[in-house]
Symmetry: C2
């Protein structure tokens, strides 16, 4: 069954909607009322109105067709409520309530599972935050916007088993300006699991990449084949790499985290890109969101600090990327720039190109242009030590202009207050800026691996 109405509902009922501040059912109502354009129907047994909208004492009382019901009532009541949803012909249900298998109540969850089967409905959760779909502003997340921002619409879908962690990532996405297609917090997976989501998002025109935070899979084989069939790059952070971590994961999720080696195998077989950690996930997501994929993994580097260029070179070699070689034509262009006084004699004209500490924006322009024109360069890393008095703000325009060359550009600028301002200005032009050479290279690695996966899938 399609999940279209779950992600793009025209009407949503909130069962357990509340006027009381601090209640989850109140926060969900607020999230939905904020921007979502569809109709919202609060269901509350004792109130006439919730947040100004007419309230219903049961979903069965609503005459209109309800595409999606969001349930936030005590766990013990959830089976009855789901039963009523089935009765009312509601085909899509999100159960936000916790207190199921994760809290030792496997029995309650089984009741819900049976009802899902009986009515042939789609159910997300229990024990989850639900969905955020920025393109229609569908927002079932109960965290208030003062505490958690929502990212703008974009191309990355992010799926998280853990709601708390998912919310932190969304919040961070917003801060970094990473564009989101769909966010799904899927919790205990009584019905909809990772595989169903991969299948749906693989057909979703708004999604270009699928990002996962996984603690343990429910159906490994099903996941594997869904990932295999998908024509979109899938990137995953999975916790529980060590024995101790995995045992901690087992005690906190209902599912077994399982042996990490098994996951490693499944991931590589189904060409899922496994990411090291949260920082790497954010870094790669930012580049995917801002820049095109490169055509290969040969990196050109232009820097005003030799040491930072060396660090980037170390990092790229260790990540299995290649330092681009310069043709004699490129070398001649550099020599000409030296002759014309644009690049000083003591600059390093080989990759990594070191245009020295006193480089102004104009010198960057020339060096970047020559490097981008080199056909051995697939992607360009620009390092800016912006503490230098010589580097003017014109560098923002220079970086922007260089995007016309059509190759991805990733920037690195370590530092404090002033550098932070500069980073913001550059990122407004859609060039991601990282704080360390290593993280810039991590991002490039992510782009290159996604391009590789895409190529494999396109064959």
């Amino acid at each position: 069954m399609s999940l279209d109405e779950m992600f793009y509902p025209e009407s949503v009922a909130v069962i357990g909607a509340s006027n009381k501040e601090g209640k989850v059912g109140n926060s969900i109502m607020r999230s939905l009322k904020r921007k979502y354009d569809g109709e919202v129907f609060p269901v509350n047994i004792s109130e006439d109105k919730v947040l100004g909208l007419k309230a219903y004492s049961s979903i069965l009382e609503i005459d209109e067709k309800i595409d999606l019901a969001v349930v936030s009532v005590p766990a013990e009541v959830v089976p009855d409520v789901v039963d009523e949803c089935g009765d009312a012909g509601v085909k899509n249900v999100i159960v936000v309530s916790a207190g199921f298998s994760e809290a030792g109540r496997r029995d309650l969850e089984r009741e819900v599972e049976d009802l899902v089967e009986k009515y042939g409905m789609n159910l997300l959760g229990p024990n989850c935050l639900g969905i955020y779909n920025p393109s229609i502003e569908l927002d079932t997340i109960f965290n208030p916007p003062e505490k958690q921002d929502r990212p703008n619409a974009g191309s990355i879908s992010f799926l998280s088993q853990s709601g708390a962690f998912g919310a932190a990532v969304l919040d961070w996405f917003s801060e970094e300006g990473i564009g989101l297609s769909k966010f799904v917090s899927y919790g205990n997976r009584a019905d909809i699991d990772e595989s169903d989501l991969i299948e749906y998002l693989s057909e979703d025109d708004e999604t270009e990449q699928i990002l996962f935070y996984i603690e343990g899979l429910k159906h490994g084989r099903k996941f594997f084949s869904a990932a295999e069939r998908s024509d979109k790059p899938i990137l995953a952070v999975k916790s529980g790499r060590t024995k101790e971590g995995s045992s901690a994961a087992n005690s906190h999720t209902a599912s077994l985290a399982g042996k990490d080696k098994v996951y490693e195998g499944v991931f590589s077989q189904s060409s899922i890109l496994r990411l090291r950690d949260l920082r790497e996930m954010i870094n790669i997501a930012k580049s995917l969101s801002f820049q095109p994929l490169p055509e290969g993994d040969r990196v050109g580097i232009v820097t005003n600090g030799g040491g930072a260029g060396v660090m980037a070179t170390d990092a790229l070699v260790e990540r299995g990327l290649r330092l681009a070689s310069f043709s004699s034509e490129t070398q001649a262009k550099f020599r000409k720039a030296v002759k014309r006084g644009i690049i000083p004699e003591h600059a390093t004209l080989n990759n990594p190109v070191d245009i020295i500490g006193d480089a102004p924006a104009k010198r960057y322009r020339r060096a970047m242009k020559i490097t981008l024109e080199e056909k051995d360069v697939d992607v360009l890393l620009i390092i800016l030590l912006a503490q230098s008095p010589s580097l003017e703000e014109d560098i923002v325009d220079v970086l922007d202009d260089m995007q016309d060359e059509g190759k991805p550009i990733i920037a690195v600028a370590p530092g404090g207050r002033h550098t932070k301002e500069l980073r913001k200005k550059i990122e407004k032009r859609d060039i991601p800026v990282y704080q360390t050479p290593e993280e810039g290279i991590d991002a490039i690695w992510g782009l290159c691996r996604c391009c590789e996966i895409q190529d494999k899938k396109d064959v």
Copy 2:
């Protein structure tokens, strides 16, 4: 010879001081005039005054005793100027000017070396930024404060071969509130090298840890024995780990970066803690600056998100730290807290302690207190997913109060805008807050390794 007058001069001459904005000699004068309390003597061949101070046409014309001369004149003129300094009896010279061995002019550098020997002076550089000593506000860095902040006084000394990279680190230090004892950009090391600096700073009461950014050593054996003799922890980032990186380093510094394996050996033999990269350096420096060293490497974790606890557990095991075990007494305390309703039944009461997504500050207080009282816990990692509507700002006080237990506390709070504000508030209380579980663990690893090194040196 002692470097006391170099780091704590009562009078400084700036040779090449200038009224022209944009000139290095102008920026250095501005940096010195900003806060430094000692006397400043500009030397300029054609001006009567520089920035309002009487200018001298040569250092030989100044009657007062000059403790330190800072030289910023074209490289070709440097030998003459150094010669005059020697004549004038100046014993400490910083040569900021570039254009020596790093630019193929080994001959010029040799001239300077000979003069240093002739006069028995201390010379820092050439091709460097010089010194920043916040305790007397000695500041020879030519980067303007609008582009590069200066950190406050503190316990960490940071030494950088590369001036550009060093400036970026200082700027970042300021942003993070990391306290600095001395900054030294030592450039080409015509005279003073890493070993001399280790020796001096080992005797310096204001320095507790010595941080290095190294591209290549000049005298490996001398460095090794100075590090051996030092009773302070030395931490180093060295670039040029790979063949490609090392070859890039060779082309940009005058010194050979050398085989990385050799460094690895020297570092471990002289108990220098080698750091992976810039991010790790900043992360560890922050914890060293904010928190006491732990007495061992057994980590307690308290989190409101199970997944983040698992990530931290993975990371600590992979870094060779230990997950603390809870005694039956501690377990009993936790059960009592559950009975009294402070901690919910479905919380995970073992390490990592998961007090669940709806934890308020009060629950953190109880869980932290119990965990800190456990004698198997040497250091506490607190994870805050601050997107949760339940977590109030009281958490700032809770964290602060827990410092009374005397064990180091490190916090992790991933997220966006709101979380950033919260991080700032917590850091005002001297508890460092990191953006990912892995980085919190990196910081703890740094503290534990420094404690280990300290113990070894104290024997």
